[in-house]
Each structure stands twice: as structure tokens, then as C-alpha cells.
Amino acid sequence: MLQYVVKRVLMMIPTLIAVSVIVFTIIQLPPGNYLESYIAELEAQGETVDQQKVAFLRDYYGLDKPLPEQYLRWAGGMLKGDFGYSFEFNMPVTRVIGDRMLLTMIVSMVTILFTWCVAFPIGIYSATHQYSWGDYGLSLLGFLGIAIPNFMLALVMMYVANVVFGTTIGGLMAPEYIGAPWTWDKIKSVLEHSWIPVIVIGTSGTAGMIRRLRANLLDELQKQYVVTARAKGLPPRKVLRKYPLRMALNFFISDIGSLLPHIISGAEITAVVLSLPTTGPMLLNALKSQDMYLAGSFLMFLALLIVVGVLVSDLALVALDPRIRLSGGVAR
């Protein structure tokens, strides 16, 4: 077991190095660099730029250095915990992301909880009542949830709220709390405001989960051990809870791998539309303006979370499902 974990952890190193090279290359692929897109943006608004200042910044940020050197500086810094400097905000990346990270995690966790709370009962219901009116109705709702893009739903909700109720959606807390220190009132305000993004972001996830749970559970429900259990006279609920449901939960655990990065970067576009102060819009802007260290460090963090998440979910599966072995080639 220990040997396996060590092996997996060692494997992460080349993976992350490869990812960092790819991330850096892709961010550098569009022509120009941060300063040039900065100048371009200013000019698009009719402003002019002090070329001397630009020369100073180019020199200070080292943008005129060859790319491999820029890469080594960035990657080397990350090893030491220095994630580089955001040009856009004129401060270290870690400080830019700080407060937003917390809010993003709150929204994402609540969303995930929401998804689970809604998807679980519905998924089980649809599977056990396959082809009933309830199954069809809920599936229809679920498909609508998948089919309507999140940002669209967000826009529609904003429009309806504005025209019908005269209120505005957007933001994660009452304006007076923005930038204020965390207090109980602020947390309450965040909870009051977060239900809309939670519903908007949660719908598609919910639908997906319902379908997967339903399909997995249906597979299991057909199996002979279920028939046997029923034949033995176990109450139907107990049969369900004790055997097929547990079997059907494997997908749920293997999802953790993709869930972790989702917690910090879920639903960028929706967040942009609802102007949530989360990390999604920040990443998007950083990529657009070629703020390379901010974007790069962010993406690296996501990559790290994926790699760790996959490892955790693999280990959890081993612990939970005795059928899975760590090694041993072809088992059957």
C-alpha cells in the first residue's frame, strides 16, 4: 500500500512538470505579451500610453527575456512557494487570489451539497420507479437542466428578476459587506445571496448526477444478489440501502478527482454573468489580458488538485470496494 502511494506521488512530478510546460507554452501562444495587450486595450478606449513607462515595465517584468528563461524563473519560483507577480494587479499572485478563493470554495461547496441533496433522492426514485410518470417527469426536468446552458439560465433569471421583481441579481453579498472583514452578519449576507448562483450552477450538475445514479443503480438492481435478497424477504428499503446503492456509488467516489478542481474554478461563465467575486472571472481575465503568471499559477494549482484528487479517489475506492486491487495485473 505504502509502496503504491509513494510510486503514485513520484509519478506526479513529471506529470506536473509536463503540465507546467504546456500551460506556459499555451499562455504564450497568442502573439504579443501582457504589455502589448494592455496598450491595445487602452488604445481601444481612445487612451494614450506613455512609452517610457512601458519600457520601464517591460524591463522590470523581464518580458524582453527569452521564453525559456522566463519559464525557468516562474517554475523555479513556484518550487519556493513564490507564484509570481500579477501584472494586472501589481501585486503577488497569492494576494490577488486570497479572498476570492474562500468565497469560491463556499459557493462551490454549497453547490455540491445542493447537487447531492437534490440528485440523490431523485436518482434513487427514478431508478426504482423506472418508466413511471415520476421517472419521466423528473428525467425531463433533469434533461432541461443539462440542456439549458448555465449562463443562459443566469441571464434569464437576471432579466426576470429585474423586470418582474425590480431587483438585481449578482454579487455574493450585500454591497456594504464587500471588502469588510468577516463577521456573522457578512456570512449571513453571503448565504442570503448565494442561493441564486447555487441553483444556477447546480442545475446541470444535478441533472448529470441523477442520470448517472439512475443508470448505475439500474445495472445493480437487475443483478441476482438483489433478487436473492428480495426472495429472502428483506424489506425493499433495506435491500436497496444495504447492497445495490452501495455498489452504485463507485462513480461518486471516482468523481472526487474532478470535484476538487471544480471547487475552486467551477462555472467561470456563470460567475462572469452573475458577476460573482469568485476566481472564475479572474482566471478568464488573466488569460485574456495575458497576465501570464496569474493565469499560469492558477492553472498549475488546478492541475495539482486534479492529480491529488485522482489519487485520493483511487485510494478511497480501494478502501471502500474490496473488488478493486492495487496491483496484480489481469485479475479475472
Binding site: 481601444a44 506613455d50 517610457q52 520601464f56 494586472e88 503577488p92 479572498d99 454573468v273 458577476s275
Partner: protein, 635 residues
């Protein structure tokens, strides 16, 4: 008449005030602090002679205190726009584009060479510390002439032929800058939207400066705050224009209180602001400005939903109908202001194109005139601009005192016959089977126009131009690319012609620089290499080959060294004439419009304004500090 009244009002104010003007009530939002002795009373906060703001416009009135002004911006660093809108400058433009002292009490200018700046005694920074000539000395000695902080030397606006001024401190409120040669750019740079800051809040910034705290200590602090060295940290803290350091004292009407990153900036009134209204009340009227950050594409939607009190930025003309729809429901008005650019879309024949045959043609005035005559501006205006634009060559606007109607009409009428005659006269008489003329070397005239590929508007216009140029026997192909690529192609001479907006300052006065009309920088799409030649002081680029362009350069020099406005006016007029006649750029439609969303209850925003970056600073010259909310009308 109006000018006289203004001067009378000013004079009266000046006469009455120092003697002990009626001190008006405290702004209500500050009254509590004053009562609690946290803030000195109004009389102690104002300079001895504050600036009395009276705007001479029909619907302009003095206002009342209070309210929050909501605006939207797309990025955190857009907070700098509040320095643009606030527009507290040493000298600033008024609505008539006349320069007048603002932060300065007065200014003596001898032949554009010797500038003596008189500060207002008793003027204070937003933290209550005195604003004196020490702040100018600090900038001059410890910033501008510090090798680490200014590795590239003095700011360009301070240089005349690479020589800086002599700087003297005469007393606590007087400083003097003396150049050997006239420096007409100096005042314009001080009045710019992104101004030349020749002063710094020295009392605050010293704590980061190696000279004042010692190199080791300054560096240690910088490293602790995540910067490479003290110069890095210093530059970060000393950003009067970026406006992102809430601790940095300012002279603007509103102070930013929110550090980056955020989604909501709160700006509060500067209790030491130096302007008052005619009733002796300290400006600004509006207590707080709230700037929310949202995605730029959502800004028109949110403006239309009534989420703003005042908005122009990120609104475009094609949002106009949508914005109009929401007027009633959401209690705002939409004004259309005229943009100050010379032409909404202009074509730039590249006189430095690599291809010799094309280069010869582009440099032939008959060819450029023919191209200009071959554009049906009326059609473009009707089809693309709903007929709201004005057909015009790329020149200045009627609002400028230098304007003459013939600049607008020269070679700008649609006349295919005349254009064809011109092309025939050049000798381009052979055509291929499609009716396309052949170049002297036998190639068909395929004219490729580079666009930066950012707006569909440009491509729409080009599509129409392409139709009428076909009648001249010229096949035109738009080539959309990406902005960086676009610029590189033009600068290197790969591009034959490019499309961009026209003159950036369409409302100049004789005292503003005509640099755009002469070869001065590589950025000029019609002659990048000639511009570079002057930009690099003859050390790069190419010397202009056309006598008329050489004359433009000479006229620009004449403008720079002129000591009287008459000589400057002459230089301007001659340059505009040459431009109109030589058609270096082909303007199409001008009078471009910018929607401005204004809350119904917000007063003193002009209905008919000019939307101009420099001169004007967008809202700046209209005095946003005098905008006020009428409580009678609910938002």
C-alpha cells in the same frame, strides 16, 4: 458676452473671498467628524483662495449635497478612470477648451520657456498635510532625476531636444521651470487626462525612498512586501494615476478607499478639496462614488437595467436603441455625445510599403485623391451609421476654432468619373478581362487592406468601399488579422493600406500639439518609417521622401518653437491645408456618437457634450464635482 460674464464672476469671487467669504455650511456627511474634532472646520480645510467653479451653461445650476453615484467598470484597474473624471490638474481645460489654472492659483508663462507656478497657500493633500513646493522638489530631485526610479530619464513632455528644464523653488508656494527653447507641450501635458504629475505627496512617499530611510531598510521593507527591490515597491506605492493605493494622498475630488482586488470600489469625498461653488460650499456635491466591476459585455445590459447613475465607458453606439428602451422603466436618459475623433473609420495608404510599384503609387497624390473620390460616403453613412454621421475627410471637427469647411469636403465628394480620369492620367490604363486595372509591371491592382479584425463595423464599411472602388478598376480585399500582427505588418511595410479611426484629437486649439499631422512617431499608419525617423531623432527609420511631408515636419518644428499663438495658428492652418489637399489619410464618416446614460435625478450633466480623451478627459472638463442629485426626483 459669456466669456465676460465668466471673468466677472471669477473676479468677484477673487475679490470677495480672501477678505473672508461667507463660509457655507459643512457638507452634511462631514459635519459629524467636524463636530467631534476629528476634522478641522471647513475654513481651515480650504486653501486661502479656493477655486470658485461656475460653469457657463444654460442648464447649469449650483447644487445640493449628498447621494451616491454608481458606475460600472470592467476591470479593477479601470479605477484610474476616476482620476480622469475627477480631473484635478495643475492647469485644466474648461468646456471651451481654454487652459485655466485649477490646482495652481496662477501661472506665469514667459514665451513658453519660463513657467512660474504659484500654488494656493493653505492647500492640503487629502490626508490634511500641506501641499507645497517641497512636493515639486521631491519629484524633481528624488523621482525624476533618480537613476533607479527613472532609468529612462525625464518624462518626454519635460524634454526639448533632449534637454530638460532648470528647476527652482522660489518659496513655499512657488516653483519655476525654465527651458532654453520653448516647450509648448508642457501645459498640455499637465492638463492631460493621464497627466504629467510633476509633484508627489512627499510626506507619504519618503517612507519608501532609499534616500530618506536608507538603502538597506528600504530594500528590506520592499522584500517583506513582495517586491524585488525598493524601486519596485516605490513604483507600486507611487501611482497617482492608477489610483490603486488608498493610502496615497491625492488632490482629486474623491478618494479611493478600496485596495485591489475587489469588485466594488468606494470613493469618498476629499475633505480638503480646493474647489467651492458660488455659494461658498465645498465641492464635490456628491458624497460617495461607487464603482462596481463587472464583465464589459454586461455593462450595456446593466446600464439598461438602471444599475448606474452615469455611464459611458463600455457603451457603444450600437447599444443605443437598447438603452433607449429602458429609459422610462428605469428612470434614466440617454444622451448622445460627439466623439472627438477626426473620422470614425479612416483608410491609411502606407507610404512606406515595401513593394516598390505600390510604393510609387501610394506616394502619388493623384492616386490617393482618386481613392478618396471613389468612396461613396453618403452610402456608408446611410447603411452603417443610420445617416447619423457626417460625410467627411479625416480632419478636425467644426467645434475646433481651426476648422474650415473646405478641410472636410476636399477630395471627399463621390465622383467616379474624376477618379477614373486621375487614374488614367497616372498611366494605369491597361485593364484585365475583369475590368481591373493593371499595374505598370503587369500585375492586376489587387489592393489589400489590413484591419485589426476587432470590429465588424470596419469590415462593413470596407465592403461598401470595395463596391465603389471596383468601379475605378481596383480590386480591394480586406485582410482581417490580429492587432499585434496588424501593427507589425504596417510598421515593417508589409501592409499596403490599413484601416483605423481618424485623428484622435478632432477639437484642437492652436496651443495643442499638431503632432498627429506631421511625421512624429512610428505609430502613424500612413508613414510609420518617416515617423520613426523623427521619433528616434534621425537615428532610425527613413527620412521622408516627399517635399510636402518634409514641410509638415518643418511646420511642426515651427509650431514647437513659436512664441505667439498667431504663429502657432499659422502652422496649424498650413498643416491642415496640406493634409486636406494631399489626402494622406482617407476619412469616411465623422460625427461618431457615444451614448451617455444619465440618471433622471442627476443634474449638471450636459446633454450635448464632446466625448474626448485628450483634451477633455471625458467627463473631466464638465466638472463632475458639480454634478448633483435632485432629491425631488426619485431614482
Amino acid at each position: 458676452m459669456t466669456m465676460r460674464w465668466r471673468s466677472v464672476a471669477l473676479l468677484l469671487a477673487l475679490l470677495l473671498l480672501p477678505a473672508g467669504y461667507a463660509i457655507a455650511e459643512e457638507p452634511p456627511s462631514l459635519a459629524a467628524d467636524v463636530a467631534a474634532n476629528k476634522l478641522p472646520p471647513l475654513a481651515k480645510r480650504l486653501p486661502r483662495t479656493p477655486l470658485v467653479v461656475t460653469v457657463d451653461r444654460e442648464d447649469w445650476t449650483t447644487g445640493r449635497y449628498g447621494g451616491e453615484l454608481h458606475m460600472l467598470m470592467a476591470k479593477d484597474r479601470d479605477i484610474r478612470m476616476m482620476v480622469v473624471y475627477g480631473y484635478a490638474r495643475l492647469v485644466g481645460y474648461d468646456e471651451r477648451l481654454q487652459l485655466a489654472p485649477d490646482i495652481l492659483q496662477s501661472l506665469d508663462n514667459v514665451g513658453n520657456r519660463v513657467f512660474t507656478l504659484h500654488l494656493r497657500p493653505g492647500h492640503r493633500w487629502s490626508d490634511g498635510q500641506p501641499f507645497t513646493s517641497e512636493d515639486f522638489r521631491y519629484f524633481w530631485e528624488d523621482v525624476a532625476n533618480n537613476k533607479e526610479l527613472s532609468p529612462f530619464g525625464l518624462p518626454r513632455a519635460l524634454l526639448v531636444d533632449n534637454h530638460g528644464p532648470t528647476f527652482e523653488v522660489l518659496d513655499a508656494t512657488t516653483v519655476r521651470y525654465t527651458w532654453d527653447e520653448p516647450n509648448p507641450q508642457f501645459l498640455a501635458a499637465l492638463a492631460g487626462p493621464s497627466p504629467l504629475f510633476i509633484y508627489r505627496p512627499a510626506h507619504y512617499l519618503r517612507q519608501f525612498h532609499a534616500r530618506y530611510v536608507g538603502l538597506a531598510k528600504a530594500n528590506a521593507r520592499a522584500v517583506a512586501e513582495g517586491s524585488r527591490d525598493w524601486a519596485g515597491l516605490y513604483q507600486k506605492m507611487d501611482e497617482q494615476f492608477r489610483f490603486d493605493n488608498p493610502a496615497l494622498p491625492t488632490l482629486e475630488p474623491w478618494i479611493n478607499t478600496t485596495p485591489l482586488p475587489t469588485t466594488r470600489f468606494v470613493l469618498v469625498r476629499n475633505p480638503y478639496f480646493h474647489r467651492i461653488d458660488a455659494n461658498g460650499r465645498q465641492l464635490p456635491y456628491i458624497d460617495r462614488v461607487i464603482v462596481n466591476i463587472t464583465d464589459d459585455k454586461l455593462i450595456p445590459a446593466r446600464a439598461g437595467a438602471g444599475n448606474v447613475d452615469l455611464q459611458t465607458r463600455y457603451l457603444r453606439f450600437d447599444n443605443y436603441t437598447f438603452l433607449k428602451q429602458g429609459e422610462q422603466r428605469n428612470h434614466y436618459r440617454v444622451y448622445l455625445w460627439e466623439k472627438a475623433i477626426g473620422s470614425q473609420v479612416a483608410l491609411y495608404p502606407n507610404l512606406n510599403v515595401e513593394d516598390r510599384t505600390w510604393q510609387k503609387l501610394m506616394r502619388d497624390v493623384r492616386f490617393r485623391r482618386a481613392l478618396s473620390l471613389g468612396v461613396d460616403r453618403h452610402e456608408v453613412n446611410e447603411v452603417v451609421y443610420f445617416g447619423l454621421g457626417k460625410e467627411s475627410a479625416n480632419t478636425i471637427l467644426p467645434r475646433s476654432p481651426l476648422f474650415r469647411p473646405e478641410f472636410r469636403t476636399a477630395w471627399a465628394a463621390f465622383d467616379v468619373k474624376r477618379a477614373n480620369a486621375l487614374l488614367d492620367a497616372i498611366g494605369l490604363t491597361k485593364r484585365n478581362e475583369d475590368g481591373i486595372r493593371l499595374l505598370p509591371d503587369g500585375r492586376p491592382m489587387n489592393l489589400i487592406v489590413d484591419t485589426s479584425g476587432e470590429s465588424t463595423e470596419e469590415t462593413d464599411v470596407l465592403e461598401l468601399v470595395r463596391g465603389t472602388w471596383h468601379e475605378l478598376g481596383i480590386a480591394m480585399f480586406p485582410r482581417p488579422s490580429q492587432r499585434e500582427v496588424f501593427r507589425k505588418r504596417v510598421f515593417s511595410g508589409k501592409s499596403m493600406m490599413s484601416v483605423w479611426s481618424g485623428l484622435s484629437n478632432g477639437i484642437p486649439t492652436p496651443d495643442m500639439s499638431p503632432g498627429e499631422l506631421a511625421p512624429t512617431t512610428q505609430e502613424q499608419l500612413q508613414w510609420p518609417m518617416w515617423g520613426q525617423y523623427y521619433e528616434l531623432n534621425h537615428k532610425g527609420g527613413e527620412a521622408p521622401a516627399l517635399p510636402d511631408v518634409q514641410e509638415l515636419a518643418r511646420l511642426f518644428q515651427q509650431w514647437r518653437t513659436a512664441t505667439t499663438t498667431e504663429v502657432r495658428t499659422q502652422a496649424w492652418q498650413r498643416m491642415l491645408e496640406i493634409h486636406a489637399d494631399e489626402v494622406y489619410t482617407i476619412g469616411i464618416v465623422t460625427h461618431a456618437l457615444q451614448p451617455v446614460v444619465v440618471r433622471n435625478s442627476l443634474r449638471n450633466v450636459p446633454a450635448d457634450g464632446v466625448y474626448s480623451w485628450d483634451p477633455g478627459a471625458y467627463f473631466g472638463m464638465y466638472h463632475p464635482d458639480t454634478f448633483w442629485f435632485d432629491a425631488g426626483e426619485r431614482r
